[in-house]
């Protein structure tokens, strides 16, 4: 096949897909007489692409059924995410099918926005650009998110044509402090990656690497590669931070330092390591200067400034010293201030002192997000705009009005007189609202392109589906607008291909095709390279400066969110619906506060607080929790939108997104008028650190006032502790190493033996009915709690795969949530600040309490041991849920509505349930059936690993294993023999087919 044929087929495919995406629901079914080559009705086609939900750049495979993408899965060939995705990646589809997505460009006139045609809009952009270019230098500016190298090159070329300087790359999380520290210590002006999987002791000063930091899926698998128990060994993860987010919850030990004092602890460690004779390989002058700079951080000072008990600091230092392969991570993305810079410098220096070769620092696979400009440059741009120094501003998928502090004046700058603002965005967000022209461009899943999350790889994008609107590709828009006769390529796809050819990434068309099939070129990932320390003989300036403790009083931190990233995920219903992992609050972003803080300030859970910083104030409900240090308020970033479609919560507490039919009978106390803002970005100071140019997501000395109102928190947990029950079991590493006790034989909760849901699990003394017989298969799942990080990717995958209804905030409060797979969070009863996670799904019991009580046999025990729910049969008595000891059954209280075109995402293999029927996890029976059909056609049994439920497929840490319990050699069956294996509340003799492996506690 030559390139022309390929293009023809691709074009034909696109057209047919587009035709298949008709928004009207079809009344008749027709089969295609001549289908495109790669489309078979009922059979999925997979397209490799790259996830662009955050700058990490994970590889995805998009599952296309009958012309539309219905599911995203990680690309197993992709080295960044190794086939796994986070919940934001799973929810990327909901941008494509978002009902609030713009279908036409909008141009602003005096009456507001008016729709215009795409051709007209593109012509307008082009005219404006050339007009501005004619007026002088730098009259056109472009503010973009981190984009692929080809895209950036095209931007630069176009801007050059427009007589203007290159684009400014804006990311709210731009790692200024980390980049500066890397430059100062490693001589790398960028973002190195970490070979965390090889470490044995990991110390983090707040880097939220499981949520948003650099590349969360990558660090999730790397983290568990070092931290999961293996052969009685387990890495250690120590966290120094004033609060525990999702990443912090996974730490073995949390050192709750005072807000703003991470640097003190880090420098204390530097002092101690130097004193202990570390860092002898450092240049003598440097070592001396460092010793001098860190001399102030004696243990007593560290304890005093950080509020940590000396014993804790001692323990931290001791563990780090004893480590054979230590790795120290710096501060989180929100610490771009002096403290953050010092912390990152100290962390890098600690790595250098502890590991002279820097073997766990990788400069080969640098993170693409390093392309982001520093916050200071972004603020400079807005100053330029305000000063009238520019005529046309093009915004590519950025939302500075939302994600910059209100003080920064971004909103005002956009409405500068004579400035024409073009937003290339598919949604009317806060920034687009200020634009003069909104020109929606196609989303990454509909686009050709290239985006390498690591500097060493090429990762490609290709249209995985037909287009839902006439929105052009971004690259094509720029090619058309930025070039007259010198257009470098007819379209952006050719542009990308030519560029990759030019840079020797692709040799020929065959390789291009291969690359498209694989999702990129990953072979270039050779042996990782470690940086050469570049210490310039002098101490980084920031370290020479004395530490200044932050102002006293209550501090406020805006924490990056695993659900919404910087807020761009806030309009995806799944992300709103899936609760925040640590607080288990869905749809809302309450402010976390320690019980002591609550007591001192006289507020309680669910009280509406007004929090005022120097830069502004917001209102949010209080969530009292022990995972925050006293004297600190933490609020998740992402919500508090004033404009981003129907799902983006304005204040995080308003019952606005209604999914179900109008239900006039609402409780009056739930109607609540939102305050102007509940966006934590908005109340941060707009200052940047002079040394690194980074912002701080902290505000100090904030004022807390009670508004006198309370709201209903949409929390999805019941009790925070498990009251001594055997749901989530733990074992200490020491106990695990000891000889295992003999198998249990009793009948009580703590003494009941592991009883497999197999004929051998039958015991005449306990069982009334004989065992179920299975021919070949008895499906089961093993959940390794030691591997589960609680990220919720499985839950999102389950929503996507199984057409689960999204119920909205109000109904979450009423207890009508629908997840088939949810991550249960328990606080340790003895140490409330210790948080543990447990995936909870239908246990597919052999002796299922739900089955016997249904009057109509709607829960049905299949020959393969599955507990099937037959929707057509269900009459809605709900007895099964009442009798389920795991409460994993979900009831359709209403027919949940999917505003068009969200319905196009529905998986055609799974029934959409209507009101009045019970539903629950099916172990993705549609995938089992698909594998069985395949096996039957090939006249063989289903192979081990052939069936992968959606949750198992996406789990970044391989915590879930699915397979056939009847096969004695299957992985699930072998894991059942693990000494950690147990069944949740097994003493009820339900014989669950979900076997949990105890979480291993690494006591420090």
């Amino acid at each position: 096949m030559n390139r022309r044929t390929f293009l023809k087929i691709a074009g034909l495919g696109s057209v047919s897909f587009a035709a298949g995406c008709s928004p009207e629901s079809p009344k008749y079914l027709y089969s295609l007489v001549q289908a495109p080559e790669d489309m078979v009705t009922g059979k999925a086609t997979w397209y490799a692409s790259t996830c662009r939900e955050c700058p990490a750049g994970c590889g995805v495979l998009a599952k296309n059924r009958e012309g539309r993408v219905i599911k995203l899965e990680g690309n197993p060939l992709h080295p960044v995410n190794r086939g796994r995705l986070c919940m934001r990646g799973q929810a990327a589809l909901q941008a494509v099918y978002n009902p609030d997505r713009l279908k036409t460009p909008l141009v602003k006139d005096k009456d507001g926005f008016r729709p215009i045609g795409f051709a007209e809009a593109r012509a307008l952009l082009k005219a404006k650009a050339w007009q501005a270019a004619g007026r002088g230098a730098d009259r056109v500016r472009l503010l973009t998110e981190v984009a692929g190298e080809s895209q950036m090159e095209l931007f630069r070329a176009a801007l050059k044509n427009w007589n203007s300087r290159g684009p400014v790359v804006f990311e709210p999380f731009a790692y200024e402090a980390l980049k500066t520290a890397n430059r100062e210590v490693f001589g790398v002006d960028g973002l190195v990656s970490y070979r965390m999987d090889e470490a044995d002791v990991l110390v983090s000063f707040g880097a939220e690497f499981l949520e948003t930091w650099l590349s969360p899926v990558e660090y999730a698998w790397k983290f568990k590669a070092m931290h999961a128990v293996r052969g009685g060994e387990k890495g250690l993860f120590l966290l120094v931070s004033p609060y525990q987010g999702l990443t912090g919850s996974n730490a073995d030990h949390w050192l709750a330092c005072a807000p703003g004092s991470e640097a003190v602890v880090a420098l204390g460690l530097v002092r101690r390591m130097l004193a202990a004779g570390g860092g002898m390989h450092l240049p003598a002058a440097f070592r001396e200067a460092l010793a001098k700079a860190s001399a102030d951080y004696a243990p007593e000072t560290v304890s005093k400034l950080s509020g940590l008990p000396p014993a804790a600091c001692e323990k931290l230092a001791g563990r780090l010293e004893q480590a054979r392969r230590p790795l120290v991570l710096g501060a989180g993305c929100g610490l771009g201030d002096d403290n953050g810079l010092k912390t990152n410098l100290a962390a890098n220096l600690l790595n250098l002192i502890l590991d002279p070769q820097l073997t766990r620092i990788d400069t080969r696979n640098r993170h693409r997000v390093e392309a982001a400009d520093r916050r200071s440059d972004v603020l400079d741009l807005f100053l330029t705009l305000k000063g009238g120094g520019c005529d046309l501003l093009i915004l590519n998928n950025v939302n500075p009005v939302f994600s910059l502090p209100a003080e920064s004046g971004a909103r005002a700058a956009l409405s500068t007189h004579n400035l024409f603002v073009v937003s290339l965005c598919s949604f009317i967000d806060e920034t687009s609202q200020q634009a003069d022209l909104i020109l929606p461009v196609s989303l990454p899943l509909e686009t050709w392109g290239e985006y390498g999350g690591w500097s060493s790889i090429v990762s490609t994008l290709q249209p995985a589906m037909g287009r839902l609107s006439d929105a052009p590709h971004l690259g094509d828009v720029i090619l058309e607008a930025g070039f007259e006769n010198d257009r470098p390529a007819p379209d952006f796809k050719t542009y990308v291909a030519t560029r990759l050819h030019r840079t020797d990434r692709v040799r020929d068309e065959l390789q291009w095709l291969e690359m498209m099939q694989h999702g990129g070129v990953f072979s270039a990932t050779g042996p990782p390279a470690s940086p050469q320390p570049n210490l310039l003989g002098r101490l980084p300036q920031a370290l020479a400066m004395p530490y200044e403790p932050p102002p006293a009083g209550v501090a406020f931190t805006a924490a990056p969110s695993v659900r919404f990233f910087d807020g761009r995920g806030a309009n995806r219903p799944w992300l709103c619906e899936i609760p925040e992992p640590v607080s288990r609050v869905a749809w809302q972003s309450p402010v976390w506060a320690h019980p002591d803080t609550a007591r001192a300030n006289g507020f309680d859970q669910a009280d509406m607080l007004r929090i005022t910083t120097r830069a502004g104030s917001l209102e949010a409900p209080a969530y009292v929790t022990e995972v925050v240090r006293p004297g600190l308020l933490v609020m998740g970033i992402g919500q508090g939108h004033t404009s981003y479609g129907r799902y983006a919560q304005p204040a995080g507490v308003t019952p606005r997104a209604e999914f179900s039919p109008t239900d006039s009978v609402e409780l009056p106390f739930l109607t609540y008028v939102p305050p102007d803002s509940a966006n934590p970005f908005a109340i941060l100071p707009a200052i940047v650190d002079p040394a690194c140019g980074g912002p701080s997501f902290n505000a100090f000395d904030v004022r807390i006032e009670r508004t006198g109102r309370t709201v209903k928190i949409a929390k999805t947990d019941g009790s925070r502790t498990q009251h001594g029950r055997t749901f989530l079991l733990t074992v200490t590493l020491d106990d695990l190493r000891k000889a295992q006790p003999p198998p249990k034989t009793g009948l009580t909760m703590g003494d009941f033996p592991l009883t497999l849901p197999l004929p051998e699990g039958y015991n005449p003394q306990r069982d009334f009915y004989p065992a179920h017989e299975h021919d070949l298969y008895r499906w089961g799942m093993v959940v390794d709690l030691d591997r589960c990080i609680g990220c919720g990717a499985c839950a999102a995958a389950c929503y996507a795969e199984n057409n689960i209804g999204v119920v909205g905030e109000l109904r979450t409060i009423q207890g009508r949530k629908m997840p088939w797979m949810e991550i249960v969070r328990y606080h340790d009863e003895r140490r409330l600040e210790r948080v543990m996670f447990q995936p909870m799904l239908c246990q597919h019991c052999d002796n299922a309490p739900c089955e016997s009580v249904c009057p109509v046999y709607a829960p049905h025990h299949s020959a393969e041991g599955l507990n099937n729910q037959i929707y057509n049969r269900c009459i809605g008595t709900r007895f099964c849920s009442q009798n389920c000891p795991y409460k994993v059954r979900r009831f359709n209280w209403f027919t949940w509505e999917l505003p068009e075109p969200l319905n196009l995402q529905l998986n055609p293999d799974v029934t959409v349930r209507s009101k009045g029927v019970m539903e629950k996890c099916s172990f993705c029976i549609q995938r089992i059936k698909e594998a069985r059909t395949r096996a039957k056609n090939e006249n063989r049994p289903i192979r081990e690993g052939e069936v992968t439920p959606a949750c198992v497929q996406t789990c970044p840490t391989y915590a879930l294993v699915f397979g056939n319990l009847m096969d004695k050699d299957s992985r699930v069956r072998r894991l059942c023999n693990d000494p950690r294996a147990y069944q949740a509340m097994g003493y009820l003799n339900t014989k669950p087919a979900v076997i949990y492996l105890k979480k291993v506690l690494h006591e420090v």
Binding site: V665, G815, P849, V853, P855, V856, I875, N892
Partner: protein, 434 residues
């Protein structure tokens, strides 16, 4: 043992069937509006979804099943009074037997509606019928809900037939004393009763057999209803004492409802000579017994929860007394055990106002007992991560009002259109009949 003559009995009872005053129709109309309100709320729920109520996960059963159990409980005393006490030849039950039996039939009707109202897809309810069908599907007779279907329908059939059988001679009396349309209707209803010897012979045999047949049902129906809970694994439900506990509770609430109905009836219809204070006192005495049984059951539950050393069970009962619904527990102990024990004082159990007030308290307390069991059990079930609370919502309140309205609506129609005291049985106890 009445001192009235047969003629006085006939006159007193038939006087109640005189043309009612307008005020009666106002009450009937009001209650009918209540019924319409309930029906409207149900219709709305069918169209929008069961979610208009307050049920959720974990508390998937709410007021609908509470009311179901409540009405089934009310339905118990009628049969107890008319059948068991008949077999025991307890003459004092004769004046109240008819009304109590009517109460039973109407209460079963109300109760029977609730499983339908409660269903998520009521339009598919025929899936529960064991009819051969081309889908080759069959109901699951292991499910306690299927036991319910059988038990309740049997009970409704038997108690309606029993009621109608007892009504026959009285219907003939009304037929004989009426003219016009009423005569025609009652001629049809009385099935050609002439009072012939063989009629009386068959009648009294039939009545006795029905009494014998209905007696085990009194025990079985509420036992079966209790198994809806006792056969579940839920802590607080899964106990063996549930059947006797529920039966005693049912009779307790039924007797209270008998008092609630009889006392106004007695006053309005001037039945003082027929429904004497002695009769009411006997009901109260029975309630002392049932109240004590119920109290014993409450105590036993707590004792076993402690004695079992089962942490889940104990936590569930601890929470019942200390948790969010603790007031429900205190309502039920107060109203079902402590307040009825006032009947131990003779002056109280012979004082009509006291009897009336206490009967209302017991009705209230028994409703809360069902709330505590049905909601409290699952609200604090095995998984602490899924603990949750429940509060009824407007639609549920409307349906609850509708069900009470339906009950009193039917009862009001009954007492002006059918003899509310069994003339036949009263005459059996009249002095000359001795």
């Amino acid at each position: 043992m009445t001192d009235l003559t047969c003629a006085q009995i006939d006159r007193t009872v038939l006087n109640t069937l005189e043309r009612p005053r307008p005020r009666y129709w106002v009450f009937v109309a009001l209650l009918f509006c209540g019924v319409l309100l309930g029906a409207g709320a149900w219709t709305y729920q069918i169209f929008v979804g069961i979610g208009v109520g307050g049920q959720n996960i974990p508390v998937a059963w709410g007021t609908y099943l509470i009311n179901f159990v409540f009405w089934v409980g009310i339905a118990h005393s009628g049969t107890l009074i008319s059948a068991i006490l008949h077999l025991f030849r307890a003459g004092w039950r004769n004046p109240i037997a008819r009304a109590a039996e009517t109460m039973t039939v109407f209460a079963v009707c109300c109760a029977g509606l609730f499983p339908f109202i409660h269903l998520g897809r009521v339009w598919q309810v025929y899936f529960m019928l064991p009819i051969p069908n081309q889908r080759l599907l069959w109901p699951n007779f292991l499910s306690p809900l299927m036991f319910d279907v059988v038990a309740i329908s049997t009970y409704l059939t038997v108690s309606s037939l029993f009621w109608y059988t007892g009504l026959l001679p009285d219907l003939a009396v009304v037929r004989d004393r009426s003219t016009g349309l009423r005569h025609k209707i009652f001629r049809l209803l009385s099935l050609g009763w002439t009072g012939a010897h063989h009629h009386w012979l068959n009648y009294s045999r039939g009545y006795l057999f029905f009494a014998a047949l209905a007696t085990p049902l009194v025990i079985s129906v509420h036992s079966v209803v209790s198994w809806d809970f006792a056969l579940g694994v839920v802590p607080g439900w899964h106990t063996t004492i549930f059947a006797p506990y529920f039966v005693a509770g049912a009779i307790h609430s039924g007797l209270a409802m008998v008092l609630t109905l009889m006392i106004p009836l007695r006053r309005i219809f001037r039945y003082d000579a027929i429904i004497t204070v002695n009769v009411l006192e006997n009901v109260a005495k029975t309630m002392i017994l049932t109240g004590l049984i119920v109290g014993l059951a409450y105590g036993t539950e707590y004792f076993i929860a402690w004695y079992s050393h089962n942490a889940v069970e104990w936590e569930s009962f601890r929470w019942r007394a200390m948790g969010e619904y603790a007031y429900g527990l205190y309502f039920m102990i107060m109203c079902n055990v402590l307040i009825p024990s006032l009947f131990l004082i003779k002056a109280v159990r012979r004082s009509v106002p006291w009897l009336f007030v206490i009967s209302l308290a017991v009705n209230f307390g028994m409703w809360w007992e069902r709330f505590v069991i049905i909601v409290g059990g699952v609200a604090h079930d095995y998984p602490p991560h899924a603990w949750g609370l429940y509060a009824p919502r407007l639609v549920e309140y409307c349906i609850m009002v509708g069900s009470f309205s339906l009950f009193f609506f039917l009862f009001l129609l009954f007492c002006k259109h059918l003899p509310s005291v069994s003339m036949t049985e009263m005459k059996e106890t009249a002095p000359h009949a001795g």
